[in-house]
Amino acid sequence: MKSDTPMDDDEAIARSLDGDLTAYEALVARYSVLAHRTAAMLGAADEAEDVVQEAFVKAYRHLSSFRQGSPFRPWLLRIVANETHNLTRSRGRRTGLAVRLGAVTDPVAPDDPEGAAVAKDRRARLLEAVRALPDGERDAVVCRYFLQLSEAETAEVLGRPVGTVKSSTHRGLARLREEVGGELA
């Protein structure tokens, strides 16, 4: 597959609806990483790859129900979230945040190994605190901050009213502040 000029989502979707699988491949490639992040962070764990493939296949099958001109990203991620939910429900448990801390040098303290270690420790504790949140709050926090979705997108992806997303996020943040916020400047 190669594309000479990048297609925008709308064009790729329109062409996919006409049966152009190469256009759909471009969409898949474009959202693949985000879809994997979403699946992993919402609990698919090591089955994220399966979930993502199923989601893309399903999205293609249901593309005719996609409202053209509306944003593709939350529509797709909702399918990913639903597939993840089906998976976790079928195996009776969810794995929570299937992610690990990367070996990132904290930009705040590039020349300060001790500070970097402290920062890393803090990140680890914050991650643990996010993991420990109640499901609804964790999902909202994950979508808003780790996946960097807007409130409206988060509502669509999680299938909840915007007001619920707002309050879940708010409660989640409050809980996180309680857990790790003590040393925050």
Binding site: V33, A48, D50, E54, R100, V130, F146, R177
Partner: protein, 273 residues
């Protein structure tokens, strides 16, 4: 990943900007590793499933298996199989990828037609032949009377043929199949539910047949046949099918396979009572 952080402004409390905790969460999210296969591999795997109905981990010699380095071999296959058979609420579908030469430039499906409960995907790369013929979900041998009692639609028989050698019911009564010697097979299925057969067809394209009050399509080449699962639209390959006539009458989809030529197929079809 492209995203805007502006929408988060609505979260600012009295902090006069993004809260420290929120900024920290963004930074944490950015630092998290989530293993993901190369996007091009995912795209190829999805395409393979869409065009062939073959799950990428299913052995299929003619389909290059996408690499899924982070996944232990075997496990995903097991799960797909479980799903595949657990949920089959699908109607059958016959799909035809005519084995006729498909020009390189036609790798993409050009058009989708839905007809008599069958999805025809016109144009596209040749579909690999399913190496192992598979039965329809839940297919079992029954008598004609049992089939009539089980089916969700009125079952008819073609007067042009004698009594079938065998009758089967599949998928909880959604499909009734009758078999005669020589590979002649008539499938009748509930044509009112949404799943379809899919066929990926290169030239020659299906031919319309109008005869004896019958409107049908003739698929004149051998083609892979499979069904589409209702649950998620996954295409499950069954076997290589002979040329087939497809039509719909009164909400019942029909496919007649193995009749030889289209005239004979049309005669048999028109004799259904």
């Amino acid at each position: 990943m492209v995203s805007s952080r502006e929408p988060h402004d609505d979260d600012r409390g009295g902090l006069g900007g993004l809260g420290d905790l929120e900024a920290e969460l963004f930074a944490l999210g950015d630092s998290l590793d989530v293993p993901a296969p190369p996007p091009a591999d995912v795209a190829a795997a999805v395409r393979a499933r869409l065009t062939t109905g073959i799950a990428p981990t299913t052995p299929a010699p003619t389909t290059p298996a996408p690499t899924t380095p982070a996944t232990p071999a075997g496990r995903p296959l097991k799960r797909r199989r479980g799903r595949r058979w657990a949920v089959v609420a699908a109607v059958v579908l016959a799909v035809a990828a005519l084995t006729a030469a498909t020009p390189q430039g036609r790798a993409a499906v050009a058009q989708i037609l839905r007809y008599a409960g069958i999805e025809l995907r016109l144009g596209g790369a040749p579909v690999p032949v399913e190496p192992t013929p598979t039965s329809l979900p839940g297919e079992r041998a029954v008598t004609l009377d049992q089939a009539r009692a089980t089916a969700r639609f009125p079952v008819r028989t073609p007067g042009a043929l004698g009594a079938p050698d065998a009758v089967t019911v599949s998928d909880g009564g959604r499909v009734v199949s009758m078999l005669w010697p020589g590979g002649l097979r008539l499938d009748q299925f509930d044509g009112t539910i949404s799943p379809y057969l899919w066929k990926q067809l290169g030239p020659p394209f299906p031919e319309e047949v109008h005869a004896a009050g019958l409107d049908a399509l003739w698929i004149g080449g051998a083609h892979p046949l499979g069904y589409i699962k209702r649950e998620d639209g996954t295409s499950v390959p069954l076997r290589q099918a002979a040329p087939t006539l497809i039509w719909e009458t009164g909400g019942v989809g029909h496919r007649l396979e193995g009749a030889g030529d289209k005239d004979r197929a049309a005669r048999i079809a028109a004799s259904l009572r």
